[in-house]
């Protein structure tokens, strides 16, 4: 028998569908919401409603934004010739936080995944090509994840971009800062050694 009232059970079930949440965490969140002040819970509900109503993708780079063009694409100080291609917005945020990239982005909104039926038409590859007509692109930085799908997507982009004048580069592979060699997997070690540079 379910010990919770139907409304609470329904909320737990819906929360447990969110990525990274199991039933236990969903129950914890639901209980926390029950105990929270009305003002906080209503504010959260309003935020979720506004998220659905106001957030859209940038018409240029497909990053999430409230405006037709995101803050990065609208920033005149950015290097417009350099485009960093990432899988999703979370990757874009990670690179932005590093402060290492001063150019613009292109968010693919996914990677090639044959078993899920995700091909080039299901992600924003066509839109990347359209940018060559409207922008003067000098470099494309492929920053997809070094997973099987991310690697294959990067190689696919490399092949279809070879007819364009832009320089195509790939982010480096290697040991993370503060990492420990003895705990590093052999593929990462092998690639780190292959990609070594003069010190």
């Amino acid at each position: 028998m379910n010990p919770y009232p139907p409304v609470l059970s329904d909320l737990i079930r819906k929360l447990s569908r969110l990525p990274g949440l199991g039933e236990k965490s969903a129950t914890r969140i639901a209980m926390h919401l029950l105990k929270s002040p009305d003002k906080d819970v209503e504010s959260l509900a309003e935020n979720i409603r506004q998220l659905r109503a106001n957030i859209r993708t940038c018409s240029i780079c497909f990053n999430f934004t409230e405006d037709p063009v995101c803050a990065i694409c609208g920033d005149p100080a950015r290097n417009t010739g350099q485009i960093c291609v990432v899988e999703g917005t979370a990757d874009l945020l990670a690179i932005e936080q590093s402060g290492a990239h001063k150019g613009r982005y292109h968010v693919l909104q996914g990677v090639l995944a044959p078993l899920d039926g995700i091909g080039p038409e299901q992600i924003r590859i066509k839109e990347l090509f359209a940018r060559f007509k409207s922008e003067k692109i000098t470099e494309i930085i492929l920053a997809t994840n070094p997973s099987s799908e991310g690697e294959a997507t990067a190689h696919y982009l490399l092949q279809i971009l070879k007819d364009h004048d832009a320089r195509v580069t790939r982010i480096a592979y290697g040991i993370p800062m503060g990492g420990d060699l003895k705990y590093t997997d052999r593929i990462t070690l092998e690639r780190a050694l292959k990609g070594r540079q003069v010190f």
């Binding site: 990525p19 990274g20 949440l21 236990k24 090639l112 078993l115 091909g119 190689h155 279809i160 997997d185």
Partner: protein
């Protein structure tokens, strides 16, 4: 509580619960194997780089309460060059999808595992990946017990060598001679040589299979027929074919692998040949 260790190829992975991963393998010891890797999404040390699709791994499992828990996993071969060739990578995914749909869970079928392993090795280094895929699928169909005898007409019992033209329905396993053929898109037109080659392939060891050479014009109709067989058996579409349809035209390669060609008739003038390298 039973513990075991086996060689396996990663087929798919998906998130499970808060930090776990549900991984499906094609294993040597127990056919299709589904296990939960506890904390795999959180820990980058315990399961780093081991659950990438089409990787060969050595997996340690524990069975408890009808669940399989993955206790450890070591990468044996990642087939990295395949990731830099989208065609080979997509063919590996297509073969994995067919294995996923056809290999039963928990039933040991070592021959199909070794075929999968050999297919990945061949795809990695062969210059004609489409041919590797075709041979692998023919061998797989035969291994799974779905390939008909292919030695006589199903209607008149006429022997293979007495007619140059034959029509094969891979999905239903029917073989009929030209005299009994009626126009039907699901049949593949084949010559006696190709059929003899397929029969010969069933009798030879796996390592010799890759030496066989099909006629170029036979590859597309045969692949299409084998994909129809999979669709017929599983009653579902093949997701990776949709991706291959999109990828191959941009490569400048004909999208002939896709089973959407209206009639898969191939010219019958020349006999197919096989050669040993």
């Amino acid at each position: 509580m039973k513990r075991f260790e086996t060689d396996a190829i990663v087929l798919t992975t998906c998130d499970y619960g808060e930090s776990d991963r549900l991984v499906t393998f094609h294993s040597a010891a127990c056919g299709k194997l589904r296990g939960i890797a506890k904390g795999a999404r959180r820990s980058k040390k315990r399961f780093a780089n081991v659950f990438e699709p089409s990787s060969l791994v050595r997996v340690q499992c524990r069975e408890k309460n009808s669940f399989t828990w993955i206790e450890g996993c070591t990468l044996t071969q990642a087939y990295l060059p395949m990731r830099s060739d989208i065609e080979k990578w997509a063919y590996a995914a297509l073969f994995s999808e067919i294995v996923l749909g056809m290999v039963p869970e928990g039933e040991p079928l070592a021959a199909s595992f070794f075929l999968h392993k050999e297919t990945l090795q061949r795809l990695e280094r062969d210059k004609d990946p489409q041919h590797v895929l075709l041979l692998a699928l023919l061998r797989f169909q035969s291994l799974m017990g779905y390939m008909a005898a292919l030695d006589e007409c199903e209607i008149c019992r006429r022997a293979l060598k007495t007619s140059p033209k034959w029509f094969w329905h891979p999905a239903r396993g029917k073989l009929i001679c030209a005299d009994h053929f009626y126009p039907d898109r699901s049949y593949i037109a084949l010559d006696t040589g190709t059929l003899a080659l397929i029969q010969y392939m069933r009798t030879i060891p796996l390592e010799k299979t890759w030496r066989l050479r099909m006629r170029q014009e036979m590859k597309a109709p045969l692949l299409g027929g084998l994909l129809d067989w999979f669709r017929y058996q599983t009653r579902r579409e093949i997701q990776s074919v949709k991706v291959i349809e999109q990828i191959l035209p941009s490569w400048g390669i004909s999208s002939s692998i896709v089973g959407s060609a209206p009639v898969r008739h191939a010219p019958l003038q020349n006999e197919c040949r096989y050669r040993t390298l």
